[in-house]
Subunit: 223 residues, 2 copies
């Protein structure tokens, strides 16, 4: 069986887990804290990042969430997440990257740094200015999601796609870390509640990072 | 015809141009300096990055080098650059990302900041410490290329692939900016001379960024 090396608040591992859940691929989650830079893990992935997937029986290692998603999209027909023409697929990949890089660098990464790493690793208090900048950036990204959903049914086009999984994965971590205010974002909120309600999403919402409790509404399906 | 928005020292635009050259896709390069954050360009790509490809006749816009490469790999059969099994393709994509992200962030990005942006935009002198750190990181990456070429014919496996184009694109910019010392890297050097000799590479080597001349050996095929 596949093993998935990850930790509960990794947005890229969540994107992969949503894809595996939709496609019905069985896997065993294995806890890896990449900031510990464990020797065996650094040998496995010199980039030092999760997720990594390993199939020890077949001797296969898959590194990086976008590589893993393309692999399962190519090898498992069920629940195709890169649908349509080559142009449609380019738009899905563009928006997947948008959330993987822009949303991550402006919102998820600073929230993880201030609210997770500073507590668990550096034993420091979070920097309020960085937190406020991340929350302000989140408003801009929710505006963009509202705009996209004014023009199409799902984030990436007419059908649910990898772009929805990437967006929901980043938002769910930002939401866990108190960075999302849904006020005046009814469209985005309705879409996110739809994503939260999916069977692929439920197991992620019940997980906790030790010492870091989520807000009261985090797991609720009407918030 | 396709237009490619780019500037001469953009490693990601170079990766795309190598792919288009190998595949024989015609395009018109259009100069775009993303650091100017031109309004029309920011409307086209909110991420504010090149390369962007536009086909005005068909009304198609392709954003991000990895999206563009996947698009032409899907639509043009000639010179396939993601060959082999799904596992082979995962390894090619992993190494492409390795050069796009690790090599770029440790070497190309600081060299562009210190030797291009500081001269053209900020009117500052380069920081010697940053330059030395980038050149030291380059030695580590050349070691890794030597290691890969000890085990396989090309960077990503048995055939030339997108991983070779990504690696050569990053290295060519680092080389232009004086960041590469080939000493004790015979394997990597032989591979790079092979890449430089390809017809797809020749037009890139003759281009210059205004006010920033490359080292004397940059364009030579025996260096």
């Amino acid at each position: 069986m596949w093993q998935l090396l990850q930790f509960p608040l990794c947005p890229f591992s969540r994107k992969v887990r949503l894809l595996l859940g939709e496609k019905g691929v069985a896997y065993e989650p294995v806890r890896e804290s990449p900031w510990m830079r464990r020797d065996e893990f650094m040998d496995l992935n010199p980039a030092g990042q999760v997720p990594v997937m390993v199939d020890t029986e077949r001797g296969v290692t898959l590194i990086d969430s976008s590589v893993i998603c393309e692999f399962f999209e190519e090898t498992v027909d069920k629940a195709a997440m890169l649908n349509g023409t080559a142009v449609d697929r380019a738009e899905i990949r563009r928006l997947t990257l948008w959330f993987d890089t822009q949303f991550f660098s402006e919102i998820t990464a600073p929230l993880l740094q201030e609210r997770m790493l500073k507590r668990l690793v550096y034993k420091q208090s979070p920097d309020g200015q960085v937190l406020r900048a991340a929350m302000k950036a989140a408003v801009g990204h929710l505006d963009y999601i509202d705009y996209l959903l004014d023009h199409r049914t799902w984030i990436g086009g007419a059908t649910m796609s990898l772009a929805d999984l990437a967006a929901a994965a980043q938002i769910s971590i930002a939401d866990y870390l108190g960075g999302i205010d849904w006020k005046s974002h009814e469209q985005a909120k309705r879409w996110y509640i739809g994503m939260k309600s999916r069977p692929s999403f439920r197991p992620l919402l019940s997980e906790r990072m030790e010492g870091i409790p989520p807000p009261a509404d985090y797991e609720k399906l009407d918030h």
